[in-house]
Amino acid sequence: MKTNRKVYVISKNLDPFFLGIYSAYQFVGRYFREAFKPPFEFTELKKQCYAIGVKSLPLITLTGFVTGVVFTKQSRPSLQDLGAVSWLPSLIAIALVRALAPLITSLISAGKIGSNIGAQLGSMRVTEQIDAIDVSGVNAFKYLVVTRVTATTLMIPILMMYFAFVGLIGSFLNVSMGENTSFISYFQEALSPISFLDVLTGLFKSIMYGLTIGLVGSYKGYNATRGTEGVGKAANMAVVVSMFLIFVEEIIIVQLSGWIRLAQ
């Protein structure tokens, strides 16, 4: 009797978990099916790219600049001890392009953009605005989800490259305060060890993170329930799940790129 009860409790808790995974799988599948099928919502896509890309620039500028300055400041003493201060620009550039720019940009975006998408779609769901779009004969999934996910997938790589650039400027300004280095020679020094694979990996990472942020935010918002509480939960879960998945993807992509580097 006790065993039956335990089995019942376990199955009651596991059922929603597996149903959730199946529903997320269906959602992702639907995105890829709808994304490449006309008609395309270009006007809404442009609007979302502006909201996601351009409106994130101040935050990305600030964090990119601070990261460049702080990372340079923290690394200099250790390199000085080793007599390798001349490696500083290369070290900063490699760290930014390979790891910091994709990761920090996507974590910030998960907080800013992911929560925004979750809350926006969640409130549209609980106030029946998504149903209203559906009953007016417009494909709500395509109009709301496909545009947002595509916009994050396109914009996060651009924001990532911008972050790396601003980070290098921050680093240059920090270096130039102590040494007499020209902007061009600093950038030549910084970019010389960057390989095509580094840039490609950074871009691939940020495309994956953008896709993840868009899909998770949209999924949580589109399936929100239970009024305002559900909207808050959707926004919160959009951030938590996106960040978790970004770290998982980071580990996998770093491992894969490491193998490729070894094979070269």
Binding site: I133, D134, V135, G137
Partner: protein, 257 residues
């Protein structure tokens, strides 16, 4: 029945519902519902809160799937047609939501023009503006055209919600609690608007409500939904001129004895 707009109720069925069942978990909401709606006819579906009235029209609009039974709308079975066919069918259906469901981020003009996106007919901006102004004029709110939904009163939001459905000139209207949360005078205005939409646009409609005044004013026929099934159907007088205790309780609680 005729009116100044040559509105006629015919014997052509626009909605046929047979043996409809719908449950959420262990809760049975609709239990063998049967209903026919004729062209040009307004039918009020009455019932207590939580009796499944909104679920019924959401199934009709294809927003929910029935567990069993058939729902035929304008000759098509909504749960058996493809997504694309459903979207085309929805162009002929107007759905007025309980809380209006206006798009927060759009002006009244953009809200009303929005359903035209799904329309296959390509229109110029000038033609869209003419259509928007025409329906706003029909609901008497042309002055709100550039306002945001947050700047409107509850009654205005309801009217704009109805105007948004009228832009595609629907054959069938579905009203979900059109007078809930409104003051008595605004309720009368909304009731008159529903009647005017029926006559001017020659629509058929299902009006989901628990407001007997709304049902009496707007509907040609009334159906009382109790415990997942229609207890009785007929004209307002036929339904409420009864000794049935359940019907009498429902009637008495609406304070219009």
């Amino acid at each position: 029945m005729t009116s100044q707009y040559n509105h006629i109720i015919t014997d052509e069925k626009v909605i046929t519902i047979n043996d409809l069942h719908k449950s959420f978990g262990e809760l049975t909401v609709l239990n063998g519902v049967k209903l026919d709606i004729y062209k040009g006819e307004n039918v009020a579906v009455l019932g207590r809160s939580g009796s499944g009235k909104s679920v019924l029209i959401k199934i009709i609009a294809g927003l929910l799937k029935p567990d069993s039974g058939t729902v035929s709308v304008l000759g098509q079975e909504v749960d058996k047609i493809t997504e694309k066919e459903l979207r085309t069918l929805r162009l002929k259906i107007g759905f007025s939501f309980q809380n209006s469901a206006l798009y927060d981020s759009m002006t009244v003009r953009e809200n009303i023009a929005f359903p035209l996106r799904g329309n296959t007919e390509k229109l110029t901006q000038k033609e869209i503006n003419i259509k928007v102004e025409e329906v706003l004029d029909a609901v008497g709110l042309i002055q709100t055209i550039n306002q945001m939904p947050s700047e409107l009163s509850g009654g205005q939001r309801k009217r704009i919600g109805i105007a948004r459905t009228l832009i595609l000139k629907p054959e069938l209207m579905l009203y979900d609690e059109p007078t809930s949360g409104l003051d008595p005078i605004t309720c009368i205005e909304i009731n008159n608007l529903i009647k005017e939409v029926q006559e001017r646009y020659n629509t058929s409609a299902i009006i989901i409500t628990h407001d007997l005044t709304c049902a009496k004013t707007t509907a040609n026929r009334v159906a009382l939904l109790i415990e997942g099934n229609f207890l009785t159907q007929g004209t307002f007088e036929e339904v409420f001129d009864t000794e049935d205790e359940t019907v009498k309780i429902f009637f008495d609680y609406n304070f219009i004895t």
